[in-house]
């Protein structure tokens, strides 16, 4: 299995400048009667941008302000984003439970205020996880980011928390 943090991905950036984009906006509770990722993906970001699912493509990234994913503990928010084939979320900061859920799911998040400021909506971006660099091809800028801490990378590279703990139980 390729280690997730060594992959270089390329996609389009969908920028939501706002702070506090919450889990109710990412996946409204009216869809929480299922835990099917593909079903949830159909409603990803629905209450902040109804057109999101129609325009997002594989390897694209979501860019946002402070406190992304605040609110509920619903991991469905991570599943909806992952199910929509989004490669990562770049935000100035993340809410605690969302951040933890993403790591536990093996889903890489990038915390970078610099990137959240510089990346424009629709820009072509390339993410080099190993080097810790985001290259905004449209704007022609390179932005360095701090990779996830070691213990989080370990969980992500194991394919999520359950694979990680499976070794122990």
């Amino acid at each position: 299995m390729t280690e997730k943090h060594e992959v270089v991905v390329m996609g389009k950036a969908w920028v939501y400048k706002r702070d506090h984009i919450n889990t109710d906006e990412i996946i409204p509770a009216r869809y929480l009667n299922t835990d099917d990722e593909q079903e949830l993906a159909k409603h990803c970001m629905e209450d902040i941008d109804k057109g999101f699912v129609g325009k997002v493509g594989e390897g694209d990234v979501i860019v946002a302000g402070e406190d992304f994913g605040c609110g509920s503990s619903r991991e469905h928010a991570v599943w909806a984003i992952r199910g929509a084939k989004v490669a990562t979320v770049i935000a100035k900061s993340f809410a605690r439970i969302f951040y933890r859920n993403a790591i536990n799911c093996g889903f890489y998040l990038i915390e970078s205020a610099d990137a959240a400021e510089k990346i424009g909506d629709g820009d072509k971006v390339e993410i080099d996880y190993k080097a810790g660099i985001i290259r905004d091809k449209t704007a022609g800028v390179e932005i360095k980011f701090n990779p996830l801490p070691g213990f989080a990378l370990e969980i992500i590279n194991d394919g999520g928390l359950l694979e990680h703990i499976k070794k122990k139980v």
Binding site: E25, A29, N33, T34, S73, R96, N101, L161, V169
Partner: protein, 420 residues
């Protein structure tokens, strides 16, 4: 250097002498709370990973509360998965429908929350349990699966902020108003990743029900947990509610414990607060929004669906008629029966309210009071995010049970002190 209550509880759970903020620990979990939205996914994961086991069938508490009695076929399927799993593993504390209630009201009421313990739940408002000098925090489904199988979980020890709430609350002002004022001041990420420790004379005067309203909303400031020290009020509640395991350990913050910041509030000057859409930090004194027309009032939830809240609402509605549709949701079957026995249902019925079975229901836009486009709801719940209670173009105004009840009668937001 001393430690805070939160640090002491986590040190105990990690089997360590002491811990410092930011330290990564592996903690043994004392109680795991499971409900019908996030646990079925955890069960699926456990089965898929070939680790369908539970670490201790006596330390897991199950209450199908969110979309139950099942609101649709898919919700029924989730409840079925939860039910089959709870039976398969002989979960001791499985509250089936009829005894199930809104989780964060049910667990303390049924004696599952003890000081000094670590409680995790697949729900962000698990921070409620901090009212009992315990560490409670919300987790997602993968964490839930891990803790169900192993009884352990990794944590980063949070730094603490201290909120000192002094001064006596005036008539018509309640703990909900206090927490809305706190969040309005520090913001929805004012305590991000941190422990919110509440102290001061205003807290000392509060009942356990009122304290739970405070710690319940710690997550609305981004906190990992909310916590309140142990005192005689805590002890009296526990004496009346703990059943099987009645011993517990009381931890107190040291005088030289370290806090990231200390904020002081004078509660004596506080007015009834309303959090305007679309963030819980949108709190303003009632004077600034009084007169706004509402379409619905909702009195319930893990924040304000306890007996004390229903009494406050009934006191205001007594002998009056509601002007808008008003939904009253007692949070647990015990509260439901208490309200009935005390004659509160007569008051609500006479006023023209709907009285619901215990459920999280419309608080999170599930059922039992969903809003249409453009509708406004004054609600005793904890979140007023876009689309939280229904259509993305509906609006939620967070308030105390008194303000919600008075506004229900008036049909518009109104200062409850005018109805006392």
């Amino acid at each position: 250097m001393g430690m805070t209550i939160t640090e002491k509880i986590l040190a105990r759970a990690a089997g360590k002498e002491s811990v410092r903020p930011s330290e990564l620990i592996n903690a043994k979990i004392d109680v795991v709370m499971c409900h019908d939205v996030t646990t079925p996914a955890a069960i699926r994961m456990l089965v898929e990973h070939g680790i369908d086991r539970v670490f201790d069938a006596e330390k897991i508490v199950v209450t199908p509360d969110h979309f139950q009695p099942a609101k649709d076929i898919k919700s029924a399927e989730l409840a079925k998965r939860l039910d089959e799993w709870a039976r398969r593993h002989k979960i001791k504390h499985y509250y089936k429908l009829g005894r199930a209630g809104v989780c964060h009201a049910l667990l303390p009421e049924q004696g599952h929350i003890r000081p000094g313990e670590v409680i995790v739940g697949g729900d962000s408002h698990t921070c409620t349990y901090g009212a009992f000098a315990a560490f409670g925090t919300g987790i997602g489904s993968t964490d839930l699966a891990a803790v169900i199988a192993t009884g352990e979980l990794w944590f980063k020890v949070p730094a603490s902020i201290k909120l000192v709430l002094n001064g006596a609350l005036t008539a018509g002002v309640y703990s909900k108003d206090v927490i809305l004022a706190v969040i309005a001041r520090i913001g929805v990420d004012g305590a991000l990743y941190q422990a919110m420790e509440f102290a001061g004379s205003a807290i000392a005067e509060m009942s356990m029900e009122a304290r739970m309203t405070m710690t319940n909303m710690a997550i609305e400031a981004g906190a990992k947990n909310g916590i309140i020290g142990f005192d005689e009020v805590t002890k009296a509640y526990l004496d009346g509610h703990l059943k099987e395991k009645t011993e517990y350990t009381v931890f107190e913050s040291d005088a030289d414990a370290e806090y990231v910041s200390v904020e002081e509030f004078d509660c004596s000057k506080l007015e009834p607060m309303v959090a305007m859409p679309h963030l819980p930090s949108g709190g303003v004194p009632i004077d600034e929004c009084s007169g706004m027309e509402m379409d619905q009032a909702y009195i319930g939830s893990c924040t304000n669906g306890r007996i004390e809240d229903l009494r406050i609402a009934a006191e205001i509605m007594k002998g009056k008629q509601v002007a808008i549709r008003t939904i009253v949701v007692p949070a647990t079957p015990t509260i439901w029966k208490q309200a009935k026995d005390e004659g509160l249902f007569d008051v609500f019925y006479d006023a023209g309210c709907v009285i619901s079975a215990p459920t999280c229901g419309a608080c999170l836009g599930g059922f039992m009071g969903i809003l249409a486009a453009g509708e406004k709801c004054v609600s005793t719940t904890n979140r007023n995010f876009v689309g939280r209670m229904g259509h993305p173009e509906s609006e939620v105004y967070l308030a105390s049970p008194a303000t919600a009840a008075a506004s229900a009668v008036e049909g518009k937001l109104i200062d409850p002190r005018k109805c006392l």
